[in-house]
């Protein structure tokens, strides 16, 4: 009864029951608004990842296991490897159509194509740029093929029809020279890059400047899309892809130091804005006296401890192969850590792509090993990730 509650309401400082109820409703409305914003916001940020993550995790479950890889490794011939891969739907559709290496590349390209199609809008652009990797690879193949006078049929066999220039691939295969290939690409974003490096190519007769311009464009474009963003999911992708860029640069620096080259000789092949190793650091690294000097300059970066661990091996053998293996290990471990960070974000995507890349690399190593008659299985095993 209003009579019994009124004294309490008056004691609380309210003029009337109506004013008390008004305050009560306002308080409930404010609480509701706060709860909805706080509770619903994280769900909305995770929502776009629900579908792609479920699909990719299903594919993680279908990846080749260590046991299966060891069975493939024990195959006696390439035909046996082919037969084994026919048991995997992802590979079965390609192994009978193409050579094994091309079948593996087709599968990897298809995987990136799928991820680009199902990725949430906020990170789709990154995967669309990653897909351009196949455009660049195809252009490089075409340039190399024209340079070495390979026929259209053989050239076509080497191309991977994924990416943005698939429509013009047939025309490009028929091109007569490197210049023709570049001219045919006039309408694409790659034309200015190739045109810029053309004088160098014509002067030296080397296709490296053309290739370097394409690679630099790909990586710098990718890093530009990833950085300067407060999105945590993008940040995770940035550290994964950025580390790969750093490692690509580090490998070039190590090889250059082995060949006594200077910074100026290799600067055009380096991606200037890396993740942990920026332009100035690359210059410092190249100024180091020798390979151990480079490793000591990397102290303080995430790569330092991995490289220091195998320094003694380098000192013994004089080969930089242990560093390359250590860097590959670093990427695998980083991807594993990152994949667990955002299970309802980009985590599973990074996990899947890293595992898929490793699977394809391992299969390619096995295929190459099996192609070489008498190549020992133990040696192939050593080269697996």
């Amino acid at each position: 009864m209003p009579d019994t509650i009124n004294p309490t309401i008056t004691a609380m400082g309210f003029a009337s029951l109506e004013s008390f109820l008004m305050v009560l409703f306002i308080a409930i409305a404010l609480l509701a608004a706060f709860v909805i914003i706080v509770a619903v916001k994280p769900v909305y940020s995770m929502f776009p990842y629900a579908y792609p993550n479920a699909r990719l995790r299903a594919r993680i479950g279908r990846l080749i296991t260590a046991k299966q890889l060891s069975e493939i490794l024990d195959s006696d011939s390439l035909e046996e490897v082919k037969n084994y891969l026919r048991g995997f739907p992802e590979y079965a559709k390609y192994v009978d159509k193409y050579s094994l290496e091309k079948a593996l590349d087709m599968q990897l390209a298809e995987t990136y194509d799928l991820v680009a199609r199902i990725a949430p809008d906020s990170i789709k652009s990154i995967f669309l740029i990653l897909l351009k990797k196949w455009d660049i690879r195809n252009i490089k193949t075409l340039i190399t093929a024209k340079e070495s006078d390979l026929g259209p049929e053989k050239t076509a066999e080497l191309l991977i029809p994924f990416g943005e220039i698939t429509d013009v691939l047939e025309k490009l295969v028929e091109a007569e020279s490197v210049d023709d290939v570049i001219m045919e690409l006039e309408e694409t974003e790659y034309y200015p890059l190739l045109e810029e490096a053309l004088p160098d190519y014509e002067k030296t007769g080397m296709i490296l400047p053309l290739e370097a311009n394409l690679d630099k464009y790909f990586f710098e474009n990718l890093l530009k899309t990833l950085e300067d963003d407060s999105d945590e999911n993008k940040e995770l992708l940035y550290s994964y892809i950025g580390s790969q860029v750093d490692i690509t640069n580090l490998k070039i620096v190590l090889r250059a130091k082995m060949d006594d080259l200077q910074y100026e000789d290799i600067s055009s092949y380096l991606v200037s804005e890396g993740y942990q190793i920026r332009d100035w650091k690359l210059k410092d690294l190249m100024d180091a006296e020798n390979v151990p000097g480079i490793i000591s300059l990397l102290e303080g970066t995430d790569y330092g401890p991995y490289l220091e661990e195998v320094l003694s091996e380098y000192n013994k053998t004089g080969s930089i192969a242990p560093f390359e293996v250590a860097l590959a290990e670093y990427i695998t471990k980083t991807a594993k850590t990152l994949s667990r960070k955002k299970p309802l974000g980009t985590g599973p995507m990074i996990g899947f792509l890293s595992k898929k890349e490793a699977e394809i690399k391992n299969l390619k190593v096995i295929v190459r090993g099996k192609r070489e008659a008498g190549f020992p299985v133990s040696k192939i095993k050593e080269m697996l990730i």
């Binding site: 029951l17 009560l24 509701a32 769900v43 629900a50 792609p52 993550n53 299903a58």
Partner: protein, 161 residues
């Protein structure tokens, strides 16, 4: 026709809060898990049954909210012996808010775990039992809200008073 007093109006608001918030949480939660399940089924058709099961989990909070709203309506509008005073109306709002907010949080939390579980089961079918168990954990908060709402409704006399 029931005469609408200030008390019954407050009780109606309480019923709205109970079903409104739980319904909102359930619909958002369920859509997230169902989206994951669609992705899982697209890759593995045998995931259909598990996907439906996981997607159904965030439905329960809306059922609790619906039951509380029904009890309030039955007690307030159909219980001829009880007159709903303003005090009872305020108690009803407390019951509705307890159910609504507990159900909202519980369903959203459950949707995240169930969505992850769908992914885990798709990757490794042996994870099914663990996935269900983990997904059921955030249900408890909705049960607390539901029980408190029931106790408030019964002991205040809104129902059976």
């Amino acid at each position: 026709m029931v005469e609408i007093t200030m008390g019954t109006a407050l009780l109606a608001v309480a019923a709205g809060i109970a079903i409104g918030f739980t319904g909102l949480g359930s619909s958002l939660g369920q859509s997230m898990v169902a989206t994951s399940s669609v992705g899982a089924v697209a890759e593995k058709s045998e995931m259909f049954a598990q996907g439906v099961l996981f997607s159904a989990l965030p439905e329960t909070q809306a059922i609790y909210g619906f039951l509380i709203a029904i009890l309030l309506i039955v007690g307030g509008f159909l219980g001829a012996e009880t007159t709903i005073t303003v005090e009872l109306g305020i108690v009803a709002i407390a019951a509705g808010t307890a159910m609504g907010l507990a159900g909202l949080g519980s369903s959203l939390g459950q949707s995240m775990v169930a969505s992850s579980s769908v992914g885990a089961v798709t990757e490794n079918p042996d994870m099914f039992a663990q996935g269900i168990l983990f997904s059921a954990l955030p249900e408890t908060q909705a049960i607390y809200g539901f029980l408190i709402a029931i106790l408030l409704i019964i002991f205040s006399g809104i129902l059976g008073g």
